[in-house]
Symmetry: C2
Subunit: 322 residues, 2 copies
């Protein structure tokens, strides 16, 4: 990724400036809390995708920086609301904002970031791009709600899982890529290609995330293992294992999920079942397929450095360890 980040250095720095400069308010907790969460090791994945997609279609400039910032604010708002929902104590290895400032402030500063994103988009995006972003926000909320409903439900299907990750991850990533195309005034064909690229990339990203929750190195990811299981989330590695699990194993998983206290031993018990049925291996394979599908969409474009970089982003995303 270093090469890609270097290529977009100027734009990324400009977007970063916009991100930092639009959280001011006379109410000091707003910049403090916003800054805290915005600085907590986010990869600026969505901003990068807006910038790279726009550049691939021939546009670099202020509107892309603004759209990149809006996308990051929307993403950050969902993190803040998520932490309240999950009652998380940590986020990316740091104390979560709701633990420091309280759930109330996290909800309301999330709302502030959404409103600011809305305001920036209204100022800098055209009607087409606004529609795409609004649709993504709808999907985001739906995905989060479905995830909440399906948590602790062992009857969650792989179809449910896809509906959840489309909403909570793929929809916004897809919108970032499509908005990049729209900003550049790209053709319908290019727009669709980038929209589909983003969707497949989003699936890749989330599935790998879910694998790292089982087998990642907390030293690299900054996240404790087994968080999803603790929160009752049935992710792809677990769902693939459940497809092959026997009655007894299902019961072990069911009990583990419902246990009041989620201990490292509980996690190891479930992890053993996932590994026995090659759940992580299977999910990693599916993630690679989505990454390939993402790359394939880019055939709609002539060869260009930006195209190569977006191909590498998909490849890197499917192989990442953090």
């Amino acid at each position: 990724m270093k090469e890609i980040i270097a290529y977009f250095k100027g734009d990324l720095e400009a977007a970063e400036k916009v991100i930092n400069n639009n959280i001011h308010s006379t109410i000091k907790i707003i910049p403090s809390l916003s800054q805290y969460i915005l600085e907590s090791g986010g990869k600026r994945f969505r901003p990068l995708l807006v910038l790279a997609s726009a550049a691939l279609c021939g546009y670099r400039g202020e509107k892309a920086h603004m759209a990149a910032c809006a996308a990051e604010y929307i993403h950050t708002a969902t993190l803040l609301h998520d932490d309240v929902v999950d009652e998380s104590d940590t986020r990316r290895g740091r104390t979560s904002a709701n633990t420091i400032w309280g759930n109330e402030a996290s909800v309301l500063v999330g709302d502030f970031l959404l409103a600011r994103a809305f305001q920036m988009m209204v100022q800098y995006l055209n009607a087409d791009a606004l529609r795409v972003m609004a649709q993504a926000c709808m999907h985001l909320a739906e995905g989060e709600i479905l995830q909440l409903l399906k948590s602790f439900d062992i009857n969650t299907t792989i179809e449910d899982y896809y509906q959840i990750i489309f909403g909570k991850t793929a929809a916004l990533i897809s919108a970032c890529c499509e908005v990049g195309a729209i900003l550049a005034g790209a053709s319908e064909k290019e727009r669709r290609a980038l929209r589909d690229y983003g969707k497949e990339l989003g699936y890749t990203f989330q599935i790998v995330d879910d694998c790292l929750d089982v087998v990642g190195d907390p030293g690299k990811t900054g996240k404790p293992l087994g968080n999803d299981l603790k929160e009752g989330k049935f992710t792809l590695p677990l769902l693939l294992a459940l497809e092959k699990a026997e009655g007894k194993e299902r019961r072990v998983i069911q009990e583990a999920v419902l246990e009041n206290e989620f201990t490292p031993e509980t996690f190891e018990r479930v992890k053993a079942i996932i590994m026995r049925h090659k759940g992580v291996e299977g999910a990693r394979k599916i993630a690679r397929e989505h990454a390939l599908s993402a790359m394939n969409q880019l055939k709609a474009f002539e060869d260009a450095p930006e195209k190569e970089y977006l191909i590498k982003v998909a490849q890197f995303t499917s192989e990442r360890e953090a």
Copy 2:
């Protein structure tokens, strides 16, 4: 108000239909929870103001119904997020949504309503109206955050109070009126008049609300008395009393606010101090002044039934008992 509601019956019904028809989702909790809170006795004050303002400037039609719906969704989302913040058990006399469905669902369905509002606005409003609504959303979030920060703070000033109620109430009401004007393609002068009318009306509305928390009839308002004090909110009746209170009375109030258990006796003790210093009387008087100021803005318009109705809305708002 009956006369006014009758005059706008067709438009109000059309807006109500839009409100009910845009909360569908394959995820059933979304329409269930949304319907529950949307049906819980809201007065559709903001929709009425969009419709009446647009009509005053010469427009009646679909765009106004859509804008009215979006405003109601935004308002409803803040109620949902508010109840999570306040840890309320009841809202308008009914069990609050967060008590039935949980804080998580309330936060996320609030986000859904915000996203849906955003989507509808993007589809039906022009750039000008979008800017006004986005700005109002920013003020809303800021007002809620400031209210949270200033709760349980006896050093809250009347200036703080105005900043809070501008954000949490007046800004959106003002935006509703201004958007009505924009939909009708009104002149800058008319737009400003309706914007200021809405702001003054918003102050009136909130100040009366705060009076009813002290002296209202719960049978009429559907709200228990003393809720604001229980939540540590220093509202205008209390702030006016505090300006005149002696050291001993200040201590009584300070202790009452900080008491762990907020009993009817605590409330009566504080109410006695408010009444002794004519806090409610003073606040009612200020509310009437804001109502007059609202009415004065309408001088920018020729005589018309819509103008008469908006004057009556301001009058009614300043005198209301529920």
